[in-house]
Symmetry: C2
Subunit: 329 residues, 2 copies
Amino acid sequence: MSSIKEVAKQAGVSVATVSRVLNNDPVVKPATKNKVLQVIKEMNYKPNMLAKNLRKQASQTIVMVLPSMSNPYFSEIARGAQAAAYDNAYHIIIGTIESKRWILDTYINLLKTNLAEGIVFVSSSASKELLEELSDEYKIVLCTEHYPGIDSTCVTIDNKKAGYEATNELIRRGHTRIAYITGNRETSSVTARIEGYKAALKEAGIPFRPERIAGAKNSFEHVKETVNGIVDKGMNIDGIITHSDLQASFILKGIKEKSIAVSERIGLVSFDGTFLAEITNPTVTTIVQPLYELGYTSVRILIQKLQSDTDAKEEGLVILPHQLVIRET
Amino acid sequence: MSSIKEVAKQAGVSVATVSRVLNNDPVVKPATKNKVLQVIKEMNYKPNMLAKNLRKQASQTIVMVLPSMSNPYFSEIARGAQAAAYDNAYHIIIGTIESKRWILDTYINLLKTNLAEGIVFVSSSASKELLEELSDEYKIVLCTEHYPGIDSTCVTIDNKKAGYEATNELIRRGHTRIAYITGNRETSSVTARIEGYKAALKEAGIPFRPERIAGAKNSFEHVKETVNGIVDKGMNIDGIITHSDLQASFILKGIKEKSIAVSERIGLVSFDGTFLAEITNPTVTTIVQPLYELGYTSVRILIQKLQSDTDAKEEGLVILPHQLVIRET
DNA sequence: CTGAAAGCGCTTACAG
DNA sequence: CTGAAAGCGCTTACAG
């Protein structure tokens, strides 16, 4: 592996000059530049980015942390994130933490040891406490979930409106006893969607019953128990809204194998709009989130912050449009 | 951000000593070590890895290149890869190339500019030519697909045996007119699986008809056209083996909406064993590949190669066990 | 327009 | 057991 020194010697110039042509400094004389360029090509020289990074105190790298990768929901966000990093000539390290704090810590350490310049947390992959600790020192963007009191930019959809639309769609079809399966924890999106749900019920004059709301993880067993739990409480339900396509697919599976005690003719609307909602039988009516764009925009904004090194922590929600897509359920 | 110099001054030792403590050099006197450790803690010092990397000429980083991320097949491999990197204290950059050569090139450049030490190519994410070019200079591991004549280690399953078992399962159930939907290109796994398919047919005395074999991309339209194409050739089929769960899910979708002209009672066996095969209706009989382990093992072997800097290019196939799981199709 | 030199923050062979 | 010093491969302010 040849170094800048060898290129300089071969071209008969100083390393400073080689460095200047490498960085397209317009000050170098065209003839010199061409000579250097030719030698670089001949020697097949590639600059050592380890040295450049140290010198410039910048790694041109960001990290995106995801809760998991088994849900296509996250894959799509990651895909958009990669594209944005690529478009801005940044490297991106995508990490899935699988609910393990020590894995999260290795990614945080990338920031602390100068290997990464900024981070985007997808979904609720970081606790409020962690965000508070980090937000003074590092550039952070949140993707899909935010926390009240944390002034990092968050890229998400209008969850309240989406919750309203999902509920309204079921009401429009004549469903009145609508259960709501939320995500595992009470995140900002859960709260907002429930608000929309309540608003739609109220508007239709349907009484709100808190027993119809329950949270479930993205596993078949959890979803099954949760839905059956609602039914067991004496709640006779004729519609379900889920927090994710994955949950909806599990419900369909449970209905089919009769381990979930609801009718096949139940109304079902999910959130996300991954391809999962299209390969189930029946296909699922869903709130399509602009997942690729959520990932893309999060990274784009993070890099913008990095490049304009103003410390202005513009709090801010960036709202991307969603869409209700009606399918068979 | 405090540097090693400040720690040294504060602790009343040289930077050399601080460095030794940082690297657990047993030579430093316990008293000195404790003093330094205490100062490090007080100052909340974190070493600058950019400097360490340059000094040691090592980034402790590898890259894994995947064709895409929209198939859970790849997500699972990526998950295993991340775990292996974590367990060996390496960083891993996972990149999806989406069939775009220029994206691939950015990941290759990570190697060439010293930002990454090695690479694992998943599926056929690199051409044979590229592998030939890179294999002299860099440490490479292939995951799931290999090329004859390329002496990089490949971690995969026994595709011939798996193809045999898939075919045999359908024959056992009385199917004799079995179509084979392969992957898009003629990769090593495709070739091997077809060998197994032929072997099973031969053993059962069923004539082999090449018109029953055709390739398809992982998209609904492609799969639909491919299956219909086989039928249009006058091939009356009563069984299908697919290259992926995703293809199988598309076939079920097509059968249901009657855009694919085969009977609902067709025998269907897929490859992969992702959760997709469980959320379709009916659920799909599948060859379960140890995806997490494929990813994990590929990375583990790459790091081993990196650490034992022998140039011995041990060609070699590492075969992991698969399993036929019988479900509803 | 170009070069000599300092320096980014570490590690390590060498001397003591 | 510890420190002074060289050096990893770049960039850039400064001088000319």
